[in-house]
């Protein structure tokens, strides 16, 4: 079968990819700039085709707890929101991480703090990669830079979530969510049957059969000795993810004097900046982290070797720069460039920042 190329928004691609991924359920609440995800799902009516449940919840709190409930049953479930809504979901995300539940969360970031703006931003890097909710936990964080990656990361997110029994987040932004691009949608995957779920997810709450003890899905443990062991098990899992799942892309890094590190839509802008700088005889390279956690620490250290400086470009006031600085360990100058308030920077501004801050 030949590939079918379609033109659509990033948010729409997420919805189509979710139906095709064999997802069992989506639970959402409207918020700009990601409302097209649920709108597309409702228009597509997947409950009539794949049997996927789509429900508009009364709040982000309810939506993430529906995800928690579905994930507890071993189902492939997801939600989507944008920054203020993701803040509301943090309680449930922490519970999902604590109970080691596979699920997929999409954040189409907008500017903050507070109600902020509906314009694009990347200011939730800290929230996503450094905590968000309470407790020592990590999310697997995928940062798409195209509509194609929005579609592709649905399957990848679910696969990683189920492989490690951990919530995965697609950390997108208003640019990627709203822009229209060509996309090849992934092929259809079958939803799992109850028998398959019982076999593949024996921990799940599917109803206790006489051959096993009851399954209890909880993040609660009153005995500190047991709770410490639980936490250590989580940490061991996170170390495994860090060892196996780092993903990144490098562009023009070998032949560059200066390295840029940027993710998502900002990486697209930096890519254009490479071409602009070339015209002026400035050699720029780009490392784009695809997984923001686990962070490509070693790859950045490697790419920074022999360079004159690093520019971390983010649509925020400087968040990922902390991790880049740790990666290069003060071996060369690391500067930040970013715009705030929902303003998306131009490639020209990036080149200007290189010249001003590093040359």
């Amino acid at each position: 079968m030949s590939e079918e190329v379609k033109l659509m928004k990033g948010n729409e691609a997420i919805a189509h990819a979710a139906i095709r991924s064999g997802a069992d359920g989506y639970f959402g609440y409207p918020i700009t700039p990601q409302s097209e995800v649920m709108e597309t799902l409702m228009a597509e009516k997947p409950w009539e085709t794949t049997g996927m449940v789509v429900l508009q919840a009364e709040s982000e709190l309810a939506a993430i707890n529906m995800v928690y409930g579905g994930a507890c049953c071993g189902k492939a479930v997801m939600t989507s929101s944008s920054s203020p809504g993701i803040s509301l979901k943090q309680e449930g995300i922490s519970y999902c991480a604590g109970a080691e539940l596979p699920c997929l969360i999409l954040n189409v970031m907008r500017g903050g703090p507070g109600l902020g703006t509906i314009q694009p931003s990347q200011a939730d890097y800290y929230q996503t990669c450094k905590g968000g909710g309470h407790g020592d936990y990590r999310l697997i964080v995928l940062a798409p830079a195209s509509v194609q990656e929005m579609a592709d990361f649905v399957n990848l997110g679910f696969d990683l979530a189920f492989k490690y029994h951990n919530p995965a987040m697609i950390l997108s932004d208003g640019v990627i969510g709203q822009m229209m691009e060509k996309v090849v949608l992934p092929p259809f995957r079958e939803r799992r049957t109850e028998e398959q779920i019982r076999k593949q997810e024996p921990w799940a709450a599917q109803g206790r059969t006489p051959d096993r003890a009851r399954n209890v899905i909880t993040s609660l443990e009153m005995d500190p000795v047991v709770m410490e062991q639980r936490n250590l098990k989580l940490q061991a899992k996170y170390a495994e993810i860090e060892a196996n799942e780092v993903r990144f892309e490098t562009i023009n890094c070998e032949d560059a004097d200066y390295l840029m590190v940027a993710f998502g839509s900002m990486a697209r802008i930096c890519q254009k900046a490479i071409d602009l700088a070339k015209e002026e005889g400035i050699k720029l390279g780009l490392l784009r982290p695809i997984t923001l956690w686990p962070f490509p620490t070693k790859a950045i250290a490697e790419a920074a070797k022999g360079k004159k400086g690093v520019l971390v470009a983010e649509i925020n006031a400087g968040q990922m720069i902390d991790d880049v600085k740790l990666a290069v360990n003060c071996s060369l100058p690391v500067e930040h460039f970013g715009r705030l308030g929902g303003i998306v920077p131009s490639p020209e501004e990036v080149v200007a920042a290189i010249k001003e801050k590093l040359m």
Partner: protein, 253 residues
């Protein structure tokens, strides 16, 4: 006739259900939770739904319900049980899904989730223990605390001008089109317990017959929080709680 001649397996007429396991319950002596747990276990056993039951426990004293009733459990965040149950049921429509929640969980922090799950007519049963106080955290005022009732956060008694009025969440839920059955029961006498058992059974049947949301409010005691002996707490409940929260069906369609 010697007692030992009577105590033989063939003469057994009552014992706790097998699905209520042998773990010693953490509840205080005389706590109503134990009786309701026993009823839930008894009913699931009688209707043979163990393999198809997904139970949702709250935050509060009943958070550990999963230690005692031998079915699969999901422990929800505080107040979120109806949202959790919504997804569990919608994704597993042929399973029996119920929540077990206290008054703080259901009627304070979880009011939105409770009302909206009921308003959507989710095919779940909500078992609601109303004892007018927060037990687990040490006896603080609940939305259902009676006027004048003393708790550690209203040590001079609940005053409406300061704390508002006892919340009749059962009556509120009965008004919603999504609920098919809202009833208020108790478990302080053998007769009351039999009626409550029938009510929970009916709720479970409604859930399986896709009739909408059933809410079984059980006015209960918290003798520790109320600072009374268990038997005195039962008397106090009849005299005071029943006056504010009268027994009987609020809706039965």
């Amino acid at each position: 006739m010697d007692v030992n001649e009577i105590i033989k397996p063939e003469n057994l007429v009552y014992r706790k259900p097998t699905l209520l396991n042998d773990n010693t319950m953490h509840y205080c002596p005389g706590c109503s939770h134990g009786v309701v747990h026993k009823l839930v276990a008894e009913i699931i056993e009688e209707i043979g739904m163990m393999e198809n039951t997904i139970a949702v426990s709250p935050v509060g004293c009943a958070v550990f319900a999963y230690n005692y009733v031998d079915v699969d459990w999901i422990q929800a965040a505080h107040g979120r049980a109806p949202a959790v149950a919504t997804a569990a049921k919608r994704l597993n429509p042929h399973k029996l899904v119920f929540t077990y929640q206290g008054d703080g969980d259901l009627a304070a922090i979880g009011t939105a989730e409770t009302i909206h799950a009921c308003n959507r007519g989710e095919n779940i049963t909500i078992i609601f223990i109303n004892n007018g106080i927060y037990g687990m955290t040490g006896g603080q005022m609940a939305p259902t605390t009676l006027e004048g009732m003393v708790t550690v956060t209203c040590p001079y008694g609940r005053k409406p001008e300061l704390n508002g009025y006892p919340l009749h969440i059962g009556e509120l839920l009965a008004k919603l089109k999504g609920t098919c059955y809202v009833t208020r029961q108790s478990v302080h006498t053998p007769a009351a317990i039999r009626k409550t058992k029938k009510a929970i059974m009916k709720g479970f049947e409604n859930s399986m017959n896709k009739k909408g949301t059933s809410v079984i409010e059980i006015v209960s005691t918290c003798n520790t929080g109320w600072k009374m002996s268990p038997d005195k707490a039962n008397v106090w409940m009849e005299e005071n709680m029943f006056a504010e929260y009268p027994m009987g069906d609020l809706k039965n369609e």
